[in-house]
């Protein structure tokens, strides 16, 4: 099975999996491979570490798509999302007028939340994915998901943010009225005084301002969250799980698969990275070597053989679990993969059995 056949007819490929399994490199490799097959591809990461840039052989990437020169019929573009700039762009887009926009952008809580908080990255990834897809400038979008432990948090990130901004109950309590905070005028006493005790009055006032300025945009956010949800569940989207053959990683891959299917998202298959591949034959005759060296060589072989058996066992379990879904194995390669050349080596496995032109370019040019 080749990644090219899994991705036939797909416009979005989401690579998910636990941290440390080669997810970013795999995302880059898939993007390169599909560009070589004639598609115009963009690969996105929100990982603030420079892993994607590294794996494409670049010192860094920014919030703008950047073209990577490839000797191929398609095009490869890459970007590393900056949560803050993306957030600002969205505010500009959703704000009904300049005054609201400025009020939000200069709100203290907004500033803190949009820069410093880890959770906002997930939302930004979904947002950008939706935007790029709607613009239709690419044949395929590949998303490298964040190395979050709760790796599927990003699935409902848009929903969560929309709920946060659009909290009717909060508006009831916090929206400012002519007499200051509504809460004071309404005298809905007890709950508020408890809340105040936790947060302090100032914070409540700031929150009130925050929700007041964001309130006008709530509708836009809610619609967007719905649209993103629809896009993720669409048949033009597919989720690829990336894992290593280690026991823990395999267990997590199974867990993810369940979550993806539970959420009604299309599950495309599994990519197992860094597999120690079993040698069908035992060690060769080593008697022509120096005896000490021969012994070391034999012991080394035994060690790797044991790893290969372990990997085979774990992957067999995974195969049984995913049933008829495709599982692609990338062996543990000799080189540490961190550039385009290395990606070529991975792609010999990801795209095994599919010619470089298996997927015809649509509207090539």
């Amino acid at each position: 099975m080749s990644v090219a056949s899994i991705l036939e007819g797909k416009e979005i490929c989401i690579c998910a999996g636990a941290g440390g399994v080669g997810k970013t490199t795999t995302s880059a490799a898939i993007a390169v491979g599909m560009a070589r097959r004639g598609l115009k591809v963009a690969v996105l990461t929100i990982d603030p570490a420079r892993r994607l840039a590294n794996s494409l052989g670049l010192p860094e990437l920014g919030n703008e798509e950047r073209r990577i020169e490839l000797d191929s019929p398609g095009e490869l573009w890459a970007m590393m999302l900056d949560a803050k700039s993306t957030f600002d762009e969205i505010v500009e887009k959703h704000a009904p007028d300049a005054a609201t926009r400025d009020a939000v952008l200069s709100n203290r809580i907004y500033k803190e939340l949009s820069t410093a908080v880890a959770g906002s990255q997930e939302y930004m990834a979904m947002e950008k994915l939706h935007e790029l897809h709607a613009e239709g400038r690419y044949d395929l979008l590949v998303l490298d998901t964040p190395p979050s432990r709760n790796a599927l948090d990003f699935l409902d990130a848009p929903d969560r943010l929309a709920r946060f901004i659009d909290s009717r109950a909060l508006h009831f309590f916090l929206a400012p009225s002519r007499t200051g905070l509504k809460i004071f005028s309404r005298g809905t006493g007890l709950l508020f005084s408890i809340l105040k005790r936790v947060t302090g009055v100032d914070l409540l006032q700031d929150l009130s301002d925050f929700f007041a300025s964001f309130g006008d945009m709530a509708q836009g956010f809610r619609e967007r969250a719905q649209a993103v949800k629809g896009l993720l569940a669409d048949e033009r989207t597919t989720f690829l799980l990336v894992t290593s053959p280690a026991h823990e990683a395999v267990e997590e891959a199974k867990f993810f698969r369940d979550k993806i299917e539970e959420a009604g998202m299309p599950f495309g298959g599994v990519i197992v990275n860094r597999m120690h591949v079993e040698e069908p034959d035992g060690p060769e005759d080593l008697t022509s070597l120096d005896p000490d060296l021969a012994e070391k060589v034999a012991r080394n072989f035994d060690d790797f053989h044991a790893l290969a058996q372990r990997d085979r066992h774990n992957v067999d379990e995974l195969t049984a679990d995913i049933g008829d879904r495709p599982l692609i194995i990338v062996p543990y390669l000799d080189e540490d993969i961190h550039d385009l050349e290395g990606i070529g080596a991975i792609n010999d496995h990801l795209f095994a059995g599919s010619g470089a032109t298996a997927v015809p370019a649509e509207g090539a040019g």
Binding site: R50, G200, D206
Partner: protein, 267 residues
């Protein structure tokens, strides 16, 4: 030392390793002087609210109220804040809950770099947001604790290009928050099995075992290069090196082996 291992991702790898899966949000003693807890947002947040308020009844009222659930389930960063808050609480001599005993040492299995930093930064972010009042006061205390000598931050890296880059970036980002890393642990180093001469002498021989030897040596060499690069980037930080273990699965005996190696190197 009374020690507790604190997991934050519902995975319970540690307790499973110790044969005691399912400790959940209970401080559970799983061996002499060794406890485990697995933090989840629901419990952590609920407990946090309880501590803020004079009576359990009020806390319950607030916690169960729609507004509060709404606000906190969605508020970016709340999860990070209450998680680091609970970790801090575990480390205090005077525990908030009456029957809880203090620990001498709290080990946190933190999320990967980006999210891990988010957690360490959360107290400062919220202190800035709150400006004054109880949240500010508390968040500042937690931040000061993280920035103090009572907290150590230990990075774990594989000797490969990307993890090394990430560790160096992590160090850079951590610096303004609390200064240098305290230790970098380099994990999974291949043994130095073959000399260059030995590998060269294999030239002309072929077969799976010779192939495996050449592969092993190449990886070993590449790891050494990355290790040197890492050393150059974290000059003032002590390094500990852990060997790659060929055991099929890491069990308790492998972990205690690694623990011995660490102890020796960091003594």
């Amino acid at each position: 030392m009374r020690t507790i291992v604190c997991e934050v991702a519902h995975q319970e790898r540690f307790s499973r390793l110790m044969g005691r899966e399912g400790v959940g949000y209970e401080e559970t003693e799983i061996a002499e002087n060794l406890s485990a807890i697995s933090l989840d947002q629901q419990h952590t947040l609920e407990e946090w609210v309880t501590y803020q308020l004079p009576s359990k009844r009020l806390a319950g009222l607030l916690y169960r109220s729609g507004i509060f659930q709404h606000l906190t389930s969605a508020a970016p960063g709340i999860k990070e804040l209450v998680t680091i808050g609970k970790i801090w609480e575990l480390s205090q001599l005077h525990r908030k809950s009456k029957d809880a005993r203090p620990y001498d040492f709290v080990v946190v299995d933190s999320p990967a770099t980006g999210h891990g930093l988010g957690m360490l930064r959360a107290p400062r972010t919220f202190a800035d947001i709150a400006r004054v009042g109880p949240i500010r006061h508390q968040a500042e205390r937690i931040h000061d604790f993280i920035a103090s000598e009572k907290t150590g931050v230990l990075a774990v890296a594989l000797p490969e290009e990307m993890p090394v880059n990430e560790t160096l970036e992590y160090q850079e980002e951590l610096a303004p928050l609390r200064g240098d890393l305290d230790v970098v642990v380099v994990n999974g180093l291949y043994p130095h099995r073959f000399t260059d001469e030995e590998i060269a002498s294999l030239n002309g021989h072929a077969g799976p075992a010779v192939g495996a030897a050449v592969t092993e040596h190449r990886r070993y060499r590449s790891q050494l290069e990355e290790l040197e690069r890492l050393k150059g980037g974290v000059e003032n930080v002590p390094l500990a090196l852990l060997p790659f273990l060929f055991a099929p699965e890491l069990g308790l005996s492998e972990v205690s082996e690694l623990s011995g190696v660490l102890e020796e190197q960091l003594a």
